[in-house]
Symmetry: C2
Amino acid sequence: MSSSFANTTIDRPQYALPPSDSRAQTKQFVLDLQDEICQALERLDGQARFQEDNWEREAGGGGRSRVIRDGGVFEQGGVNFSEVWGDTLPPAILTQRPEAAGHGFYATGTSMVLHPRNPYVPTVHLNYRYFEAGPVWWFGGGMDLTPYYAFAEDAVHFHTIAKQACDAHHPEYYPTFKRWCDEYFYLKHRQEARGIGGLFFDYQDDRGKLYCGPHTDSPAAVYSDRVGVIPRTWEEIFAFVQSCGRAFLPAYVPIAEKRKDTEYGDRERNFQLYRRGRYVEFNLVYDRGTVFGLQTNGRTESILMSLPPLVRWEYGYEPEPGTPEAELTATFLKARDWVG
Amino acid sequence: MSSSFANTTIDRPQYALPPSDSRAQTKQFVLDLQDEICQALERLDGQARFQEDNWEREAGGGGRSRVIRDGGVFEQGGVNFSEVWGDTLPPAILTQRPEAAGHGFYATGTSMVLHPRNPYVPTVHLNYRYFEAGPVWWFGGGMDLTPYYAFAEDAVHFHTIAKQACDAHHPEYYPTFKRWCDEYFYLKHRQEARGIGGLFFDYQDDRGKLYCGPHTDSPAAVYSDRVGVIPRTWEEIFAFVQSCGRAFLPAYVPIAEKRKDTEYGDRERNFQLYRRGRYVEFNLVYDRGTVFGLQTNGRTESILMSLPPLVRWEYGYEPEPGTPEAELTATFLKARDWVG
């Protein structure tokens, strides 16, 4: 895998300089995105409001964490903003961008996980982030949907909005970042996708390849290196990331609106709590942001806002064939194309 | 850390050969231990019985997993036996025992986690295992207790029984393996011990040091290398491990008997479910056996039998000062000496 990474930048002498106000621009974008999303989610929820915690990071920077709980729609959800800086990036990142070694870094971003109470409303995750370190800068992020009782029309809708956001910028974006998402959000020990996917990308700059991988042993990790370096400026990549960020509400809210009043009972609730265990397993075992944050003195409560409020594990559980519970894994938790 | 490991064996030409029936002896021991423990736990529970699954491992070997649920005492618990073999040990182990490189391996062991329903009865974990690989063999294991509502007299009892099992074999065992346990079962991101500790050891052979570490950033990881290599035979180490295994029931059952009928309400139950989240966090983020098993095609359902049946996460929870919930972290979840 490291050999793939060794080949993710092209032989151009240097990265173009970002604009002089690059940090202010990206920080304002993620702050505004956090605000827009929180306001719209409060309207959707109808009952609960986000509670905000502002915090500082000892090694530099800080953030504002917002949590909604016990709402009309959301059992628990968190939307984080953070802006951090320090002397050195962690080794895992330096392996991928060795030019950053010996330089301080700056990073800002927003991340979100929402756990609705109704098992018919999918859990959803979003994250967009921007890094600078010496001569290197890049954007990363994405959004992905994790249904418990899944509907093909919802998967098609979510992916259609994601694709539209991508297609406005480059035709290779959606097919590349859709597959990268399938590859990343994969639980190898369960041989299951975490959900129905969405978008995921990292290391988007003006020298690197569009796709940097493979990162996992997912069966989805078969995407070849046919997509190389696409000539782009800082401004073009930032515009793309903004489009992706703004695509979240139209991608998710209509699904939540449509499903939030569906009747359910103990069976659906128990299945949802069981499936939430997979979310915990992914985030604690595989998610690099979570594991890295926990192991490097990140703000634990903000990092673990992604975990569900109530979770169940059951040894040897298998859904009855032919039920919606069995259909979830058989049909939806496998990488597949939802839009043409 | 690798520098510590590079120095964990002494300059003696070779390991003594284990007895010709070493695998049969150790396998029988862990099978018998699984049987004894399951029978005693069923008597303690009074209602539920263990359900057994026999399974085979594609790459060699297999096991028998036993699960008890919805009992009078145990909400869920698993006791595993496994015997596995293969072509090569994982890199993390080869770093520590490089002599095993290029050799096939054999491993057998038993592991157990019990999650009682009553928040006054502690969760408990046990694991004993034996490895052979080419010229190398070793024993590892231990047991440790994780209370939710903690009592000093229970901690003293558990450690007293553990110490007695150790002291019958060598006076350095208990102080060394007690501290190693404190060091290993530590959640760095919470700055908390998982519980009140017990015993933990690994790589016990006739050439290696008693203590191989440090492995973590725990404040408990301050144990010096004053204990070097203690001259011991295979038979002596095996006898010690058997004593430890047999110490489990007298260490745990009296505590469970004493606490199992304590009255409790929603407050205690909610706190237990919240604290169980720490168990999940430890097992999925730090426990090398769990993470290694999941990433190398172990039997997922047997590995994750250690996870609690129902778990709660709550953003920003802090117990009221002066309550038993606050006393747990303040007094019990810090490494300390429970017996002289």
